[in-house]
């Protein structure tokens, strides 16, 4: 199957060279037709919700319909592969979530790399919240530390190997010099249910999800991973406040185009996204959910992606998480 992919990559390169001339012609009047944003996950996730909301502003800013297309599956690899082989003409944009970037480090046989794309703009995202199971007897950070330092270690729920919750959980337990066992669930809601039922002891969720659980009788929200407390969990301390190192655990979202997109098209799209995120409408919707705006465009965004890749690579090698496929 490797050969099949190589052929695909080859075809992509030849195709994009042939396209150069038509791309040059097209950019003058961009956008002349609807723009598609590919979401590499099923509908309903944060990448989907944020993009659908932004699409409204983008449509009015750019004067063309901005359409959302979900191509989920394969831990984001299906959607990202499809986006990587699209024409770099400014009509195909990819929404990359954090977990999509992790895949480029985790798996070594993907038909794309970060270089297959031109990063356009990163918009920020949500910090993580550390939740623990009251039902399993963990009410405070000290209870949790006792479990982490117990001979059999702590059990932590994740939505699978290589997710941000997994990488953050491993890092946290490692920094605390304890032991932990990853309990993989199909998705975050299933994992939260496992924690609420007392079957799994702790979990990292996004602060948006964490806020739902703040009054739960079975779950306690122990800490947030951001440098400062979040708007939706004002009573929950940061990990640093509790005396533990601040872990850079967060989920972010950004927009990328297939490599070779004309620079002026990229900057117009980027400007429209920046404007969309800065609108009071967007801030009023997502701000209270603890969305932290962190706009990075062009080369800044690219540098950020590379530094994130290095960070993930370090965690993955240190903890020997690499997958074969």
């Amino acid at each position: 199957m490797i050969s099949r992919r190589n052929v695909l990559i080859g075809a992509g390169t030849v195709g994009s060279m042939a396209l150069m001339s038509s791309v040059a012609k097209a950019q003058a009047e961009w956008p002349a037709r609807p723009i598609t944003i590919t979401i590499a996950n099923a509908p309903g996730g944060d990448d989907d919700t944020l993009s659908r909301f932004l699409a409204e502003t983008l449509t009015s800013e750019l004067g063309q319909a901005v359409v959302i297309e979900n191509r989920g599956g394969g831990s984001t690899t299906i959607g990202v592969t499809a986006a990587s082989s699209a024409k770099p003409d400014g009509y195909s944009i990819l929404c990359l979530p954090t977990s999509g970037l992790v895949q480029t480090v985790l798996r070594d046989r993907l038909p794309y790399t970060l270089d297959s794309f031109t990063p356009i703009v990163g918009i920020g995202g949500y910090p993580l919240a550390l939740i623990a199971s009251k039902k399993a007897g963990i009410n405070t950070i000290d209870d949790l530390m006792a479990a982490i330092h117990s001979p059999e270690g702590v059990t932590y729920a994740t939505a699978g190997v290589g997710t941000i919750a997994h990488l953050t959980g491993t890092t946290f337990i490692r920094e605390a010099k304890g032991k932990g066992i990853n309990v993989s669930y199909k998705n975050n809601p299933d994992g939260i249910q496992g924690v609420a039922g007392g079957f799994t002891q702790m979990m990292f969720v996004s602060a948006r999800e964490g806020a739902i659980l703040k009054n739960d009788e079975n779950v306690t929200v122990l800490a947030v991973t951001s440098p400062a407390r979040t708007s939706n969990l004002p009573d929950v301390p940061t990990t640093a406040e509790l005396g533990y190192p601040q872990i850079d655990g967060r989920v972010w979202y950004g927009y990328l185009a297939p490599a070779g997109i004309p620079a002026d098209v990229a900057s117009r799209f980027s400007a429209a996204v920046v404007k969309g995120v800065q609108t009071p409408k967007f801030q009023e919707r997502f701000g209270p959910l603890s969305f932290q705006t962190d706009l990075k465009t062009g080369d800044d965004f690219k540098a950020f992606l590379v530094s994130e890749q290095n960070r993930f690579r370090k965690i993955i090698t240190e903890n020997d998480i690499k997958l074969n496929k």
Binding site: P43, G74, T77, S184, Y185, K186, R208
Partner: protein, 497 residues
């Protein structure tokens, strides 16, 4: 509770909200009838529209789409043998057989009436005891799920039609197909043959539509005369007195099974229809008619399905934990409105909570009103000459399967499973156990491995936890009954009759 329901009704009965509930139910029915186009994609598409609506109205409309689709799905399952969702697979078993016998109208009617009854009861259950039931759902851990699913698989073989050997073979094949995809615990990909499309396993819609729908078309084309016979006798649209009498107890049992299993977030909805079908076959006096179009086999599972889709709102509303992807999407919609579903929602947003519950019942009533008159329209579809009908079905199947992921891969998958289905027919193998294995197999593995990880490798946990132990005991008993030769001889005799 009366006060609360009154508050709910006062919210749901406004002209505005009734209008959106109706729209949701109508859209839901339409996408449910079209094979493969699921509520997930539709709700995602309509989500931005609800940004400008009042949150109560938005959630009323989105839920309307959700249960409308559950409802509409049975129509194509009964008429065309096309199950677009896990829950519709069981409906094809007896429902389509009934349609072939000329009782399509009755099958559709019993499914509509049974669903309405079940929906009404389940709505009351949600209203009366939602929070209490939540703790039951939470106490159901991986060990309990494992034992429940194991019991389901064993009973499925015990009660299979025809040759036991063949049904075990089908079940095993289904389990094997279920192995394809990412292993949840380790993250490694199994048997994907290098296709990214197989990372999350073989697509259920492709398997179900291929093995049931496409194979059915190939079979009909092979033997055109058969098809003409069935078209000539569409029969009366309404239930006969006899059918009503037979269906009523099944509806009751289905409602209970569905209401209980629907509360379990980890696949309760899917289990509810299988469980109800198996139960009906066991307890009904007409058990021997199963496989030839027994009305109990439609009435029970359809009621169970609808009851379960109502009670599956309980974990979402009280814990903020969605029972399935559609629920997750609805929660996403609520979040954008600044509403946090979860423990506090009943106190903080009584209009939303009780309004939604009241709208569930109103939605069910609307579905009945929409669907009963439509039965005649649907059934007349069967009068269409088959040479027009089958290409249309194929086109809609292809569109539906394609729209799941905008991928032609799924279309090819469907074609492949169509051929498999035809082959199975030629070998006289019932495909239902294959689908049961395919759906339950991955769940069985997931919960087994999770139990073992959480218990740190101690298998005793399965018998130390009382609910799990009881379920395992029943499973062992069922297995024993199958293995006892005397009883088996009896079963063979019964089958010969």
């Amino acid at each position: 509770m009366i006060d609360n329901l009154a508050l709910g009704l006062s919210v749901a009965m406004t002209f505005h909200n009734l209008g959106f509930a109706f729209m949701g139910c109508l859209i839901g029915t339409a996408i449910g009838v079209l094979p493969g186009i699921g509520p997930l994609a539709t709700i995602a598409l309509l989500l931005p529209l609800t940004f400008t609506l009042d949150p109560v109205t938005a959630v009323i409309m989105l839920s309307g789409i959700y249960y409308g689709a559950q409802y509409g799905g049975s129509t194509s399952a009964i008429l065309l043998n096309l199950p677009g969702e896990v829950t519709a697979v069981v409906t094809t078993l007896e429902g389509h057989k009934m349609a072939l016998k000329g009782r399509a109208g009755a099958a559709l009617a019993v499914s509509a009436l049974g669903s309405f009854f079940a929906g009404t009861v389940a709505t009351l259950v949600v209203a009366a005891s939602g929070p209490v039931l939540t703790s039951f759902a939470l106490s159901f851990g991986p060990a309990e799920y494992f034992s429940l699913i194991l019991l389901g698989l064993i009973i499925a073989t015990v009660l299979a039609q025809g040759s036991i050997l063949k049904s075990i073979a089908m079940l095993a094949l289904g389990l094997a197909l279920g192995l394809v995809g990412t292993d949840i615990q380790s993250g490694e990909v199994r048997f994907s043959l290098g296709f990214f499309e197989l990372f999350e396993g073989i697509d259920f819609v492709a398997v179900a539509m291929g093995i049931f729908g496409i194979a059915e078309i190939v079979r009909n084309l092979e033997n055109p005369e058969n098809r003409n016979v069935t078209i000539s006798k569409v029969g009366s649209l309404m239930l006969t007195k006899e059918e009503f009498r037979r269906a009523a107890p099944s509806v009751l049992r289905g409602t209970v099974v569905g209401s209980v299993l629907g509360i379990l977030p980890g696949g309760g909805l899917a289990l509810s229809t299988f469980a109800s079908y198996i139960l009906e076959r066991r307890v009904s006096k007409y058990g021997h008619e199963f496989g030839t179009g027994a009305i109990e086999g439609v009435a029970g599972p359809e009621s169970a399905n609808n009851a379960a889709s109502q009670t599956s709102f309980i974990p979402m509303l009280t814990l903020g934990i969605p029972a399935n992807a559609v629920m997750a999407l609805i929660i996403g919609g609520l979040m954008i409105h600044g509403i946090q579903p979860g423990p506090g929602v009943i106190q903080a947003q009584p209009e939303l909570f009780w309004g939604l519950i009241a709208s569930m019942w109103i939605g069910n009533l609307m579905l009945l009103v929409i669907n009963l008159p439509l039965i005649g329209v649907w059934v007349s579809l069967l009068r269409l000459p088959y040479r027009y009908l089958y290409p249309t079905i194929l086109v809609f199947c292809a569109i539906g399967v394609y729209s799941v992921n905008y991928s032609t891969f799924n279309v090819f998958e469907t074609v492949l499973f169509g051929l498999v289905g035809y082959l199975l027919f030629k070998l006289r193998c019932e495909p239902a156990p294959l689908l049961i294995g395919f759906v339950l197999g991955p769940m069985l593995e997931e919960y087994l491995r999770r139990t073992m990880v959480v218990s740190r490798g101690d298998p005793m946990v399965f018998i130390e936890r009382p609910v799990s132990a009881v379920l395992l005991a029943i499973a062992a008993l069922a297995l024993l009954t199958m293995l006892l030769p005397a009883i088996r001889r009896k079963k063979d005799e019964a089958l010969e009759e």
